[in-house]
Structures are given as C-alpha cells and as structure tokens.
C-alpha cells in the first residue's frame, strides 16, 4: 500500500467510528504498519484538513480523532433537522462538574461542601448524562461513593485530555478580568 493510501484508510476509519478514534485503536487495526508510518499519515491527514477549505473537520476529542462539522455551520444544520439550539447544561450542573473535574475523585459530601449546596440531585443528572461515573468508595467513615468525570465529559467540552482543563492561570485571569470590570463600572457610576 502506498503512503497516501494509508492516510486514506485512516480517514475512513475516523469517519466510520462512532466515537473518538484513539491512536491506539488505529494502530491495532493497522497492525501491518509501523507506528512511525501511522503517525506520519495521521499528521498529513490533519494537515490536509487544516489547509483545505472544507465543511467538515477532524477534531481531537477525549483522546481520539473524530469528524465534526464546523461551528459556523450550526445554523444550517439545525435548519435541515428543524432543530432548536442544543440544550446547555444548567449552571448548577456545570458548577458541580467543575468541582468534580478539578477535585476528582470526589464524594457527594465534598462536592456539596465546595458549592455550599446539597448536590445529590445534580450528581444524579450528571450520572444519567454519563458526564460523571462512580469509580468506587472512599476509605473513610461511611465509605461514601466517589465520582470522576468520564470520557464523555471530555468529548462534551472538546477536551482531549483531563490535563486540557482550564489551567489555574486561566482561572485567575478570569477572576482578574472580573475585578477590572467591576472597577470600571464603579468609576462610571
């Protein structure tokens, strides 16, 4: 098989996969090829999508590659399916998720304490949406269940890895910006 053929095979595998296709799976399918060959082909494939003007793109999500449409085409796709904007998570759900994401593994009591609000209902919603999962029990009095974020969580927010979460620096930047904004406002009034 010629080199650009390998690129094409990988393109079709990513296309047909219902979930983000990991490098590991690609290598498993293409056992006959060396890791270098495969990685090089993927790199070329991504480059060809980045440079050509296309309606679809390959994104990296939850540790794998996945085809998606471009955000600016959202309006046309919703028109095709006659759909409203996709529903966002509630602020409570989002808050509980970030508490878990940054402090995982975490128990219900820990999450509730961080938020100052009983979070059992919110956790249930997140479990049902499969954005978090139960991963065992804490070795502490009462052995409470402990929770972690899932791969679906990563995919939902377009993260490749849990390390891609907004960094402490990004967070303090947001807090600084908020402060500046308030000072501006107070100087106006």
């Amino acid at each position: 098989m010629m080199k650009n053929r390998l690129k094409e095979v990988i393109e079709s595998l990513i296309f047909i996969s219902l979930e983000p296709l990991t490098l590991e799976k690609i290598k498993n399918v293409l056992q006959e090829y060396s890791e270098e060959e495969i990685e090089k082909a993927i790199k070329e494939l991504l480059e060809s999508y980045a440079t050509n003007e296309r309606g679809i793109q390959i994104i990296q999500s939850a540790g794998g590659y996945l085809f998606s449409t471009r955000p600016e085409h959202d309006i046309w796709i919703r028109r095709l399916f006659k759909l409203e904007r996709k529903a966002k998570l509630s602020s409570a759900a989002l808050e509980a998720l970030s508490a878990i994401a940054y402090h995982q593994p975490a128990t219900l009591a820990e999450i509730s304490a961080m938020r100052g609000v009983d979070s059992s209902h919110t956790l249930k919603t997140l479990l049902q949406k499969k954005l978090i999962k139960i991963v065992g029990r804490k070795k502490s009095p009462g052995s409470p269940l402990i929770y972690r974020t899932t791969d679906k969580f990563l995919a939902y927010f377009g993260l490749t890895d849990i390390k891609d979460l907004p960094s402490p620096e990004e967070i303090s930047k947001i807090l600084e910006e908020e402060k500046d904004l308030e000072e501006e406002e107070s100087s106006v009034h």
Binding site: P71, K86, K133
Partner: protein, 244 residues
C-alpha cells in the same frame, strides 16, 4: 447592560448561599480576605428577608450559612483571653471556602464557553448500522449503570408481583415531636446522622421541614464548626430554659 438590571436578574439565579455571599461581597467591593462580618451578615439576612418566595428545598442551605455568619460574628465580638492572632481567625474558614468556590465559578465560566463551541459542532453519532441490531447494541458501562441495571431488573420483578405496600404517612406534627424528644434526651442532634436514619425519602422530607419550622420559630438552632464539619442541631438556650 444597566447595572440595576443585572442586579435584578442575578437575584434569581444564585446557585446557593456561597454564590449569594460572593455577590454581596463584590457589590460592596470588599476584599474577600477582609470581610466586615457585621455588614455582610446584615446584608445576607436582609436578602433572605426580602426574598418573597424562597425555594424551600434550598432554604436550609441559606440558613446554614446564615448561622455560620452569625457564629463568626459572635466569635469576633466575644472578649478574648488570648489575642486574636494566636487563634485561628474564625473568618478564615469562610474565606478559604469562598476563595475555592470562586475558582469553581470561574472554571465553570470557562467550561461554558467550551460547551457553547462544542454544541455547534455536529457529529455523526448515529450512523446507519452496518451490522445487525443485536451486534451493535454495545455500550460503555460504569458502576452506576451496573447498579441501575440491577435495580431496574428488581423493579420489573416487583411490578410483576403486583404487591402493593402501603406507604406509611408522616405528619409534620409527629416529626416535630420526635425531634424535640431527641433534643430533650440528648443535648444535640447530628443533622446528617438523623437523616440517614430515615427509612424513606418521604420521611426524610417531612423531618427536614419539621426541622426548618423549628429553626424558623427559633426553638432550635443549627450550628456547624466550619465547612466539612458535622451540622449539629440543638435547642436554643431560652427555649430550653422555658421548657425546663
């Protein structure tokens, strides 16, 4: 946007007592590390008083923080044998919690932006199946799915047996009496412990409201040494004396 309008909007969307506290602190342009307890406690209680319709589910949480605020305020007013700086400033627990909470809020703001981006991308998650239905019905499962699957199974069986167990009914009055009895027996009642003893969701719910009523009518007080500490309920001194 007009500043007063933002104020109005935000009143309805506090995610909890910490959110409200942060808002009040910001509004006053107070440094989180240096909260004037008297002012902020007054503002906080005023807000609770003015809110016409408090969500009952969440009232307890707002009251718990209120009692923490009052506790800290009173600690600071008490004459001390030792200088304040030798002991841990009672505000520090609250400050730490607020700072942590502030970070969570900021992170969720950043996640919201990512969510907005992602929701506009469409993926082919439901491709026409290439294989027979049975073979493609596969999924990734977690412990929760496993447990849920088992209990759904059990529930299906329950329904088949068409056995109906009449639910025990609980009245507020009964529960209030029960709580008072526990409080007279022991000096305090462990909030979480007590709730975990309730046999059904319904019973816990009634107990919860009884407790709220008792707190509202100032017969009992709920205290907590600090975040993560057990919440304890005890009779107010005056009510205790009167009953004696």
């Amino acid at each position: 946007m007009d500043a007063s309008a933002t104020y109005q909007v935000r009143l309805e969307v506090f995610e909890g007592p910490l959110d409200l506290l942060l808002f009040l602190i910001k509004k006053k342009k107070i440094d989180i590390n240096d909260i004037p307890m008297a002012t902020i406690t007054r503002e906080y209680l005023e807000y609770l008083n003015h809110k016409e319709r408090i969500n009952l589910d969440r009232e307890a949480e707002f009251l718990l923080i209120a009692s923490l605020l009052i506790y800290i305020k009173s600690q600071m007013l008490l004459p001390r044998e030792r200088a304040l700086d030798e002991e841990k400033d009672p505000r520090q627990i609250l400050v730490d919690q607020l700072l942590d909470y502030q970070k969570i809020k900021a992170a969720s703001l950043l996640l919201r932006k990512k969510e907005e981006d992602e929701l506009q991308k469409w993926k082919r998650t439901a491709l026409p199946s290439l294989f027979p239905e049975e073979e493609t019905d596969f999924m990734e499962v977690s412990l929760y799915d496993l447990a849920e699957s088992f209990f759904s199974l059990m529930r299906k069986k329950e329904k088949k047996k068409t056995r109906t167990i009449k639910r025990k009914e609980f009245s507020l009055e009964e529960k209030t009496k029960e709580i008072m009895a526990v409080l007279k027996e022991n000096s305090f009642l462990d909030f979480l412990d007590y709730f975990s003893q309730q046999e059904s969701f319904e019973e816990a719910f009634v107990s919860f409201f009884s407790l709220l009523e008792l707190i509202k009518s100032r017969i009992v007080i709920a205290v907590q040494k600090g975040p993560f500490q057990p919440i304890k309920v005890r009779l107010r001194q005056e009510a205790y004396l009167k009953r004696k």
